[in-house]
C-alpha cells in the first residue's frame, strides 16, 4: 500500500497563508482606523482566523491528495467504459444527490416557500433544483461525448434568463439571482470537476481544457432558471386570484 496523507502539506500551509494574509491585513487597517474593537472581541476574530486557516489547509490537502488524483483516475476509467452512454445517467445521479442533501439549498427552498406564502412548497423547489442540476451535469457529459462547445448551452441559457425575468415577480428575481451559488457545493468544483477532466482526457478528440471545464457554469445556471420559472407560475396564480377577487366584487356590486 502506498498511501500519502501529508505529502506537500508545507506547500499547502504556505499557500493558505498567502490566501488569508490580504484579508487579515485589510481587517487590521480597519481595526486601527475605523473599528477600534476591544480586546475580547478581537480575540474571537483571531480565533476565527486561526480556525479558518487550518480548515482551509486541511480542505486543500484533502483535495490535493485525494480528490484530484482519484477523481482524474476514476474519470479515466469511466471514459474508457464500453458503453459510454452510461456517463449520462451517472452524471444525472451525481448532480441530483449533490443538490438534494445540500444545506445551502434547503435554506433557499424554505426562503421561497415563505415568500410565496406556502404556494411553492419547499419540496417542489427542491425537486426542481435537484433535477435541474442533474440535467446540467448530464448535459455536460453529453458535451464531452459529442464535443459540443459550451457556447451552445450558455448563450441560450442566459438569454432565456434575461427574458423570463420580465415575467417573474421582483422578489423571485432577487432570490433567483443570488441563488446561483447554492448548487455548486464543496464537491462540484473539486471532485466532480476532476472526474470530468479525467473523462475528457481519455475520450478521443477531446481537449480536457475545452471540454472538461464548463460544467460548473452550467450547474450554477440551474438554480437561477428553477427559481425564476417557479416565480412565473406563482405570479400566474396571484394574477388569477386577483381576477377572481375582481369578478367577485363586481358580482357583489351588481347584486346590490
Amino acid at each position: 500500500m502506498n498511501i500519502k496523507i501529508f505529502e506537500g502539506f508545507w506547500g499547502v500551509l504556505l499557500d493558505v497563508a498567502m490566501a488569508l494574509i490580504p484579508l487579515f491585513f485589510l481587517f487590521l487597517i480597519f481595526q486601527f482606523i475605523f473599528l477600534k474593537l476591544p480586546w475580547a472581541k478581537l480575540q474571537d476574530i483571531l480565533i476565527g482566523f486561526t480556525l479558518t486557516y487550518f480548515g482551509l489547509a486541511l480542505f486543500l490537502q484533502g483535495v490535493h491528495i485525494g480528490f484530484l488524483p482519484a477523481g482524474a483516475l476514476m474519470g479515466e476509467e469511466l471514459g474508457s467504459l464500453h458503453h459510454l452512454w452510461l456517463l449520462i445517467p451517472i452524471g444525472f445521479v451525481l448532480g441530483f444527490v449533490a443538490v438534494y442533501a445540500e444545506p445551502a439549498v434547503s435554506v433557499l427552498t424554505h426562503q421561497v416557500e415563505r415568500v410565496s406564502g406556502g404556494y411553492i412548497p419547499n419540496k417542489v423547489l427542491l425537486y426542481t433544483l435537484s433535477v435541474g442540476v442533474g440535467l446540467s451535469i448530464a448535459i455536460s457529459m453529453i458535451r464531452i461525448l459529442l464535443g459540443i462547445p459550451l457556447w451552445y448551452f450558455i448563450v441560450p441559457g442566459y438569454i432565456f434568463v434575461l427574458i423570463i425575468v420580465r415575467f417573474s415577480t421582483k422578489t423571485f428575481t432577487s432570490i433567483a439571482f443570488d441563488s446561483g451559488g447554492v448548487a455548486t457545493g464543496p464537491m462540484t468544483a473539486t471532485f466532480i470537476l476532476a472526474l470530468f477532466v479525467g473523462i475528457s482526457s481519455v475520450i478521443e478528440g477531446r481537449d480536457p481544457l475545452v471540454d472538461g471545464f464548463g460544467m460548473v457554469a452550467l450547474v450554477a445556471l440551474a438554480p437561477i432558471l428553477s427559481v425564476l420559472t417557479l416565480g412565473i407560475i406563482y405570479r400566474r396564480k396571484e394574477q388569477e386570484q386577483y381576477d377572481k377577487d375582481q369578478t367577485r366584487t363586481k358580482a357583489h356590486h351588481n347584486h346590490r
Partner: protein
C-alpha cells in the same frame, strides 16, 4: 455548541451523498486499485474536517468582520470610500475562497502550466472586486439590477468572440466558483449594510443581485486574460 453541531451536520450532508454514489460506482464500474480508493476516502475525511473548521472560523471571525466593515463604511457616507473598499474587500475575499484556489490549480495542471495559478486567482479576484465596487455604485445610485446584468452579459458575449476558445469554459467556471462559502455571505453582509445605512429607508431588496453581479466580474476578467494571452 449548537453552532458546531449544525456545521458538522451541514458538512456531512453536503459531502456524504456523492461519496456514497462514488463508492457504489467504484465497486460496480470503476474498480480503481484499492489504495487509490482509500486515498480518496482519506481525502473525503480531510475535506470534511477542513470544511467544518473553515465554516466555524468564517462564522466566528470572518463574517462579523464583514458586517462591521460594511456598516462602518456606510457611516463614512463618502461614495468613493465605499466603492474603493468594496473593491478591496471583493479582491481579498476571493483570494481566500477555497473553490477558486482548487479550480485554478486544476486549470494550472491541465494546461501544463500555460495558465499559471497565481495569475488566474489574481484576475478572478480583480474581477470580483471590480464588480463588487460596481454593485456598491448600483446600491448608492439605485440603478436597476437587470440593466447591469444584461449589460454585463452582453459584454461577456462580445469579449468571448475575441478570446481563444480555450478560455471560454474556464472563464465561465471561474464565475461559478466565486459564489463559495466565504464570498457569498461576506459580500451579502457588505451589501445589506451599505443598503440599509446609505439611504435610511430600508429596501433590503437592494442588497440582492450582488452575487449575480459578482460572478460576472471573473468571467470578464478571465476572458480578458485570454485576449491578452491569445
Amino acid at each position: 455548541m449548537d453552532n458546531i453541531k449544525d456545521t458538522v451536520l451541514e458538512v456531512i450532508l453536503s459531502i456524504l451523498p456523492i461519496t456514497i454514489v462514488i463508492t457504489i460506482l467504484q465497486f460496480t464500474l470503476i474498480w480503481l486499485p484499492l489504495d487509490m480508493f482509500i486515498q480518496f476516502l482519506i481525502g473525503v475525511l480531510l475535506v470534511g474536517s477542513g470544511l467544518i473548521l473553515f465554516l466555524l472560523g468564517v462564522n466566528i471571525g470572518l463574517l462579523p468582520v464583514g458586517e462591521m466593515i460594511g456598516s462602518s463604511l456606510s457611516k463614512t457616507k463618502r461614495v468613493w470610500v465605499i466603492i474603493f473598499f468594496g473593491f478591496l474587500l471583493g479582491l481579498v475575499v476571493t483570494v481566500a475562497e477555497p473553490d477558486v484556489r482548487v479550480l485554478s490549480s486544476q486549470i494550472n495542471q491541465v494546461s501544463g502550466g500555460r495558465i499559471p495559478k497565481d495569475i488566474l486567482i489574481l484576475s478572478v479576484a480583480l474581477g470580483v472586486g471590480g464588480f463588487v465596487a460596481l454593485a456598491m455604485f448600483r446600491i448608492i445610485f439605485s440603478i436597476n439590477i437587470v440593466y447591469l446584468l444584461a449589460g454585463g452579459y452582453a459584454l461577456v458575449f462580445i469579449l468571448a468572440a475575441f478570446t481563444p476558445s480555450v478560455f471560454v469554459p474556464i472563464s465561465f467556471d471561474s464565475g461559478g466558483v466565486t459564489t463559495g462559502p466565504l464570498t457569498v455571505p461576506f459580500i451579502l453582509s457588505l451589501g445589506v449594510g451599505a443598503a440599509s445605512v446609505m439611504r435610511g429607508k430600508s429596501s433590503s431588496s437592494d442588497g440582492f443581485g450582488l452575487v449575480a453581479l459578482a460572478s460576472i466580474g471573473p468571467i470578464l476578467a478571465v476572458l480578458l486574460l485570454g485576449v491578452i494571452y491569445g
